[in-house]
């Protein structure tokens, strides 16, 4: 992980994976800041983590609760769809997806 700098193509690929439109002028800015962040993050390399279990949750030993299989929800779609940018016949509209 010595070289943590990212080139423009990599920034483009990451931005696309994250569905973020970047203007050409923005690319070098993100290149610079992401490279700095990765450099900061590169310090993790020096930690000796052999045999250490990754910690996904801060409270070890907690386990997932199970819910009873009951229908508890009613139809409120009209209320929810008040926030929707484009709705027709109760469907959320997006530009046509070709399969």
């Amino acid at each position: 992980m010595a070289d943590t700098s990212l080139d423009a193509a990599q920034i483009g690929a990451i931005a696309h994976l994250a569905r973020l439109d970047l203007r050409p002028a923005e690319v070098p800015v993100y290149q610079d800041s992401l490279s700095r962040i990765l450099s900061l993050v590169g310090e993790l390399e020096r930690a000796d983590t052999g045999g250490v279990t990754p910690m996904a949750h801060p409270l070890s030993g907690s386990v997932q609760r199970l819910r009873e299989d009951h229908v508890t929800e009613r139809d409120h779609h009209e209320r929810y769809q008040l926030n929707a940018p484009r709705v027709e016949a109760a469907l959320y509209l997006v530009p046509k997806v070709i399969e």
Partner: protein, 486 residues
Amino acid sequence: MSIHTKTLAELALGLRNKEFSSVELTRALLARIEAAQPTLNALVSITQDGAFAQAAAADREIASGRGSTLTGVPILHKDLFCTEGVRTTCGSRMLDNFIAPYDATVVAKLKAAGTVMLGKTNMDEFAMGSSNETSFYGPVRNPWNVELVPGGSSGGSAAAVAARLAPAATATDTGGSIRQPAALCGVTGFKPTYGRVSRYGMIAFASSLDQGGVICASAEDAAIVLRAMAGFDPRDSTSVDRPVPDYVAALQMPLSGLKIGLLKEFFDAGLDAQNERRIREALALYERLGARLQEVSLPNLPLSVPAYYVVAPAECSSNLARFDGVRFGYRCEQPRDLTDLYRRSRGEGFGAEVKRRIMTGTYVLSAGYYDAYYLKAQKVRRLIADDFDRAFAQVDVLMGPTTPTAAFELGSKTADPITMYLNDIYTIGANLAGLPAVSVPCGFAGNLPVGLQIIGPHFAEERLLNAAHGYQRETDWHSRVPPGWD
């Protein structure tokens, strides 16, 4: 003493004793809020109509002898908490037009306890920031000096409480976003144990780090609010099913015998000299009150910032994927196709810091990098958590500075993100380990407030509130109001 400089506890008592009504109190604070907006910009939305309706209802409750401690007490909510029928923006253009269709559990609980919501506070966009300079609605300013930042991401909540616009404001803390602005604004900010307060309705930044809490003027006030906020929520799988103690009752225990650990790693070269002096003075006072100090070391703690800046961006890159212009939120004009809809809605809807973190997170999770970054960071996280466990076997609480410096100038740290990230160097560890922590004012560096941080083991909220309250009984830093705001 004006009504707005009373503590929450005093206001609650005054309401119950009918010295003033909730409507009067609400009117007075709304006027202050309106007057302060051009200067501080602490709020995104002011909910006058709702506030008066709630205040009137509270007054009826009080008149009929019903009601409890918080009935009629005005409160602000960070604009990250969903509030039914009220705009909820997270400080972002992405949610500029979003009216939440439901109340966050925290909001519902505080509503049920009788509080009156005055409005939604400004914040760093999607809780990403340490200075409240990334908000779509413009920066918040520090009431102690309006050229300076209030801290972030809960800058609006901290500034509002510091300027006495409201006695309490809810806030959230992922890497220090309650404690750091509380320290920079000279108020008390409490972050509970992970899982103590429900995250349902608290718009997610980093799910394994986020925790809701409160900013107010004192530990006593925090105890009152926390008692109403905390509790198991079946809608949140990470919510812990554990009874909520009466935090107020626990405040009065004496401090003698309290074992305080001084974190060696916190007293490093980055800590400003004046800040350090204030911290050491506070510690000396604790000793005089009967506490015992000892040095402890958390050798992996310096890795908390690198670990955080892998885990938090990773989680947020996934949490923010739902903002896509389809079901709610910002949608770009005339999308050419689906990809364009996504790219431009998100590209235009999100600010730079949010995009930066989304991209960082996307990268560290991507194929080929997961092990080196994400998995590694989670392992370091465990090392840090284990360090804390070992320390708490020797001491009851850890103390040290909340921030390396006092408030800084707007625009002074925005050039290099790393400079900004390092503001959280003392606060991040507690988030990684899920520990409760509080910041209390402990003096001034020049004219600017300094915060003392107290960290406890899991579910030691009572111990922390008690330690903070004991200090606040002997000092008046927490009662200081910024010049011009008293």
